[in-house]
């Protein structure tokens, strides 16, 4: 329990989860090394534990010292706007472009090995439709979900993660991704674009709103959960 409280303090203080876990584990291992050392010298178990406490101090001292070192703050705590608002948009764009290039490569490979895409089988038609949905719905939700998950783990304030979700979902709502495979004899095509029409704003806006809802609802629920846990840890 003490460890989880100290872990919570480290995370809330801006120490990265991996570093916090490692420091606490090193500290516990060090303590057990001191106890072993004292036991091997003939001390009783109680005296060995007292010696460990006196030499090492408590985990609270470790946490205080770590929190007093600004260098140990994670870069996401120092630049949350970059980590949770701009970086997610960059990752979203990179994944979207990467998926598009991968599909282009797959279509070219298919043509090179199996000839022209005359009458693509229905399975492929289904896969291409699935890829379209994955690109327009899945990527924004997965990318923004991954970043809000990171924000939860790091106990970040909600401002920048929410801004990141809104940005991704707005851009994601305006993206189009259509992979058309020929059903009889036509040229295969891949249409990718981003656009927003003032004449028909409802489809992209409703798609963006749905994605925001799907991503932010679990995030806000999880935030409430760890906010409560933080209060209990402080008690």
């Amino acid at each position: 329990m003490a460890d989880s409280n100290e872990y919570e303090r480290l995370i809330r203080g801006g120490i990265a989860p991996r570093r916090a876990r490692r420091a606490l584990r090193e500290f516990a291992e060090h303590r057990s090394d001191i106890v072993r050392e004292r036991l091997s010298l003939g001390d009783s178990a109680v005296d060995s534990a007292l010696a460990a406490d006196s030499r090492l101090g408590t985990a609270t001292v470790l946490v205080d010292n770590m929190l007093a070192s600004p260098e140990l703050k994670s870069w996401s705590r120092r630049r949350p706007w970059l980590a949770f608002a701009l970086a997610p948009v960059g990752v979203f764009c990179a994944v979207f472009v990467g998926l598009s290039l991968a599909i282009l490569a797959a279509v070219n490979l298919y043509k090179a090995t199996l000839g022209d895409l005359h009458a693509a089988p229905s399975l492929l038609q289904g896969i291409s439709a699935g890829i379209g949905h994955a690109a327009t719905w899945g990527i924004p939700i997965l990318v923004s979900g991954a970043f809000v998950l990171a924000a939860i783990r790091r106990r970040e304030s909600s401002l920048w993660p929410m801004a990141g979700v809104l940005l991704i979902c707005m851009i994601g709502g305006c993206t189009n991704f259509d992979l058309v495979l020929p059903s009889v004899s036509m040229t295969p095509g891949l249409t990718i674009g981003i656009g927003f029409s003032t004449e028909a704003p409802a489809p992209p806006l409703s798609r963006a709103a749905a994605m925001v809802f799907v991503t932010l609802l679990p995030y806000l629920w999880a935030r409430r959960q760890w906010a409560g846990r933080g209060v209990r840890a402080a008690e």
Binding site: F27, D33, R55, M66
Partner: protein, 110 residues
């Protein structure tokens, strides 16, 4: 005798870098080596050892890697090339200051 904490933090860094220049070590091993080699004259508070090691790692002067030794997982620290350069600078600085202090204690005023 109480030692100035800012002076001690610089000395701790110097000691840690010097010891890790010889071989990689884990925290408890470092604390024990400092106690033994300085004959208890300098004792780096073992509770503040890890913030210091993590700060040096974060600055790019140390690297940490996990190793399983005798069935126990240890985090071993070693110097990076940047850490070796830093150590060279710190050693020079230390010798300059120590030489100056010794000269003053001897009363070399001329």
């Amino acid at each position: 005798m109480q030692t100035s904490s800012s002076l001690m933090s610089g000395i701790s860094e110097l000691l840690l870098l010097n010891l890790l220049a010889e071989r990689e070590m884990y925290g408890y091993e470092l604390a024990r080596t400092i106690r033994l080699t300085t004959k208890d004259a300098i004792s780096v508070g073992e509770g503040v050892l890890y913030p210091a090691l993590h700060t040096l790692e974060r600055s790019g002067w140390l690297r940490a890697r996990r190793r399983v030794v005798g069935g126990r997982t240890r985090v071993y620290y070693s110097l990076t090339p940047a850490g070796r350069r830093r150590l060279g600078t710190m050693n020079q600085e230390w010798h300059r200051i120590a030489g100056g202090v010794q000269a003053a204690l001897r009363g070399d005023h001329g």
